[in-house]
Every structure is written in structure tokens, then in C-alpha cells.
Symmetry: C2
């Protein structure tokens, strides 16, 4: 269902919702009831451990790029990136970090589709989207679906968006679509021009600073010189490969919850004590979807 709010694409009013007046986004999130949160499924939680044991947690999304995500799951289960050889080898300021096997890529494990379709968009049909009247520079409308920022286009397609922390599949020139063996995460202002041109498979939900604080690469596109890496990768696994008691657990604020609507309203109209003038609007990538560690 495409909500009326999104169809209107109205500019958010500059009046502050009395329900949230004076509250910070953090206060609104802290007040969200238990039922406003959804758990991240352990087979969709990718855990990247760097050589220094720092960990980056990524939620995978099978709704937009199911073949690419299945590939990534198969590679993680086969230990494709575990035990040496994989690294973060590209760190381009205000753009992306990229990891995988830069050279000497091992043979792909069984079950990996070597030429996935171009899963850059999907049909709007069947997608439940909550819109909040946000303006957008790149799409006919934007909103949130199941806790993910999405863009909707006039041709009836939808895509995930390249917001901060978005994880996509590195590829060569079309018709190559990438297998998922090389992934990147956005570490700067949203490069939304990549939307519809590359498969987005997930987003970083924890440990982002382990990527963003890496020393930038000195070669073109932020690549490290041959033979050097930003960070060796120790392992990449899915959370369900760990015993239940050893798994990290995360929850995402449901974007169809009342709490999320309040959160968007305060993001768009900051009027807590620090602010003189509420913005009266917010862009989709400045509404960071709340994620928390669960018990």
C-alpha cells in the first residue's frame, strides 16, 4: 500500500506536533513501547570481524536484492571471507569503504549465482511504505518500508537508498551486477546518484565507526596501494552460525509504528532547548532509523 501521505508529497508543516514538542529524538525513541521494535533475524545479520577484533554488524535485506543476498549468505556460510585473504582495501573519504578479496578471489562456493540479475529496483507492488511527506531530489517520493529508507519512482519501481551506512555490491561495468563477493558501505553524505544503479543489500547497524575511522586510501578512488590494506578481515559470518547464547541481538524501530512517526516529526522539527528554529522538514537520509541492542 502506498500511503496517501506519500502520494501528496507535501512539505512537512513547520508546526511542531504538540505530542513531541520539546522532546529530542532520543527521548522519543526511549519512550517507544516494546511492540514498536522488530528483531533482526539472525540469518540476516552479517558479522564482519576485523583483524583487531572490532566488529561491524550489517542487516541484510532480501526484499530488494534476493539473489545477491542469498549469495552473500552462501559465501558467509562457506567461510569465503574467513581465515585470511579478505580485507578492507578501499576507503574513499565522503564516499565508501569497500571490502572482500581485492585480488586472488577464491572460487565461489557452491550455490552462489555468478551472474545475478540487476536487482537495483523492484516493483512498488507488494511493498508497504510509510511516507511522511518528505521532499526528495532523486525520486518521485520517499518513505520507509519495514524500517528501511526507500525511494519510489514514477515508473512504478522502488529502490533502497544510499544513505549513510547503506551496504551495496561492488560491480564492474554493466552488464556486470557483482556477485556480492565485494561489498561497500557508505561513509559520507548520501551518494543517492548510485540508487537504481547498483544492488543495495543491507545496512550497517552497529560498529560503523570501525569503518569510518579507517585511514583513507591514497590511490585513485581511495584504493590502498597494491599489497597494502586498510584492515585485514578475520571472519565474516551470519549470526545464526553462532550458538544462540553467543549471538548479538538487535532490534529496529518499526517504521509503521506510532513511535517512528513521532521520531520523524522530531527529526523534522527539532525544538528542544538547543534549537531556535525548527527546520520544518527532513530528508530521508537524515532520519537515521533507530537500532538498539536487545537483551
Amino acid at each position: 500500500m502506498l500511503t496517501a501521505a506519500i502520494a501528496l508529497a507535501a512539505f512537512l508543516a513547520q508546526e511542531v506536533d504538540p505530542d513531541v514538542a520539546g522532546q529530542t529524538p532520543g527521548e522519543v525513541v526511549a519512550a517507544a513501547p516494546a511492540e514498536a521494535w522488530r528483531a533482526i533475524a539472525p540469518d540476516h545479520l552479517l558479522l564482519v570481524t576485523l583483524a583487531d577484533d572490532s566488529e561491524v554488524a550489517i542487516e541484510l535485506n532480501s526484499t530488494f536484492a534476493p539473489v545477491h543476498v542469498a549469495n552473500i549468505q552462501a559465501m558467509a556460510r562457506a567461510g569465503y571471507w574467513t581465515g585470511g585473504g579478505a580485507s578492507v582495501y578501499r576507503v574513499q573519504d565522503n564516499y565508501v569503504v569497500q571490502w572482500g578479496h581485492r585480488d586472488d578471489q577464491p572460487e565461489l562456493p557452491a550455490g552462489v549465482e555468478e551472474t545475478p540479475p540487476a536487482e537495483y529496483v523492484r516493483s512498488i507492488e507488494g511493498l508497504a511504505v510509510n511516507g511522511f511527506g518528505m521532499r526528495d531530489s532523486y525520486a518521485a517520493a520517499v518513505g520507509f518500508s519495514d524500517g528501511w529508507p526507500v525511494a519510489l519512482y514514477s515508473d512504478g519501481t522502488a529502490s533502497l537508498t544510499h544513505c549513510y551506512g547503506a551496504v551495496g555490491v561492488g560491480r564492474n561495468m554493466s552488464p556486470d551486477t557483482g556477485t556480492g563477493e565485494e561489498l561497500y558501505a557508505v561513509i559520507g553524505h548520501a551518494p543517492r546518484h548510485l540508487d537504481r544503479n547498483i544492488a543495495i543489500v543491507g545496512r550497517v547497524v552497529d560498529g560503523m565507526a570501525h569503518y569510518t575511522s579507517l585511514t583513507r586510501g591514497t590511490e585513485v578512488l581511495g584504493m590502498y596501494p597494491e599489497g597494502e590494506v586498510a584492515a585485514p578481515i578475520k571472519s565474516v559470518i551470519l549470526a545464526d552460525m553462532l550458538a544462540p547464547e553467543d549471538r548479538p541481538n538487535y532490534e529496529v524501530l518499526r517504521s509503521d509504528s506510532e513511535a517512528f512517526a513521532r521520531y520523524v516529526a522530531v527529526r523534522a522539527n527539532r525544538d528542544d532547548a538547543f534549537y531556535d528554529v525548527p527546520a520544518g522538514g527532513v530528508d530521508v537520509c537524515n532520519v537515521q532509523v533507530p537500532v538498539r541492542a536487545a537483551e
Copy 2:
């Protein structure tokens, strides 16, 4: 003059300008003629040198916050942040780095205004703005003025925008406006909700990665624990305090040049070999204004 293009606020057409078809932003910038560039004045080029001798160069802008900028110039000339005691002490992921004297702030040098006005907006009058029909979530219109991204509001005011690299003045709660002794730079997705709420005084034009790759602070708001710093500051000077032959020189692509218009067009409609679908639009903070080292 407010251009007709901005008044229209039309969505950028999804047709690629035949003049730039197939070109990358870098190619358009490389082809810009000498007269499309303006030099950064050495009295408006602030050079922050960290303890490891890495240097961050910041262009100051006196058009929006003249009292705050004059304060910063006076503090730099007096060596306020030079010779120990100043540091980068806050690094908040996807938000800002902040520097200055966290505690034990020395007495302000002569000539520094201790309570500057709230220079968060100025009148549109007298401001030459080139607009390119960009949509915006925060303002009635956006464009570029003298190489700076600006936002225009329906009440006749204008502000600089909190794009990646923007430098603003840390402050306490209103009516405090900050003196300029504590500054921050944006290191994540543009926090445009800060526009009109804080004085923007410039932007990082070189060395941004020295800030963005700093280890994130572990305390609330990305603060470092008491007694710890992300990076000690060795000196902060204006370029004109150096002998002419020792000064770094930078040039900014003039936003009223034909080359800049072409640059915006290719940022909005990437159709070089990597892209399948030109976006047909771009947001103001995804048009990074080109800056180059000059001879």
C-alpha cells in the same frame, strides 16, 4: 539577484545535457577554463595543524557571520590556539568533530567580541545566487553563492548549509551564540536541521580526512573522556601569517561559471559508463564544490 531558475524550483529534467553527455564530474572540472576559478584569500584561509603535522585547511566566509569570522581571525592572529592546550576533543560518528579549548579556556584576545549577534541567517538582499532547480527538504530554495551552498527561506533570509565539511561555531544554549573559540566540522550526512540555529563560518577545503579518520569519542555526543583528546592541536594560523612563498594556495570553482553549471548537470545526471540510470536530480550537499590547489 535571485535567478529565475531558483524561483521556479523545478525538478531537474531527466534528460542529459548533450554538452556533458558521457562525461564524469572530474572531466567537466578538468576542462574548466582558468577564469572559472577564484582564489581563496589568504586572510580567509585558516590552517589547523595537528600534533602529527597533518594540516586541515578551512575557507572562512565573512558574508554570513562577519563578527564570528572576525573573532576567529583575531584569535588565530593572537595565537590563541597555538602552542598547546587546544585539541580536537569530540568526534561523533556521522555528525561532527569539534576542537578548541575544551577546558581552561585562555582569556580571549583583544578585539574579540564576547557576545556576537546570532549570525545564523542574513537577508537575501545583496546576495547573488545561482540556482539549478534543486529540490530541498529544509528551505524554500537552495543554490550557490560565490562557491558556497546556500539555502533561501520564505521570510527573505538566507543561510549557509550544513553540508559535509561545513565549519560552524560551537555554542551553549541560546542566547549564547559562541565566540568562535570552539569550532566543529561536519563529518557525516548533512545535519541540515542545524541550519538557522548556529553560525556557519566556513568549510574544510583540504585535509578533511585528517578529521574524518579520527577515532570516535566514547562519551556522550562523541566526547573524549576527561583528560583525553582525539588529536592535540599544534597551531591555528591564517595563511597570510606565512611568507607569500610558504602559503598554500587554493582555488574554488566559481558557482556563476558555465563550468559549474555543467558540473551540477553531470552530478545530477551521471551517465558515464558506470551508470545505467541518471538520477535526474541532485541535492545541494551532494554537489561538492570543486576546490583545487593552485600554482
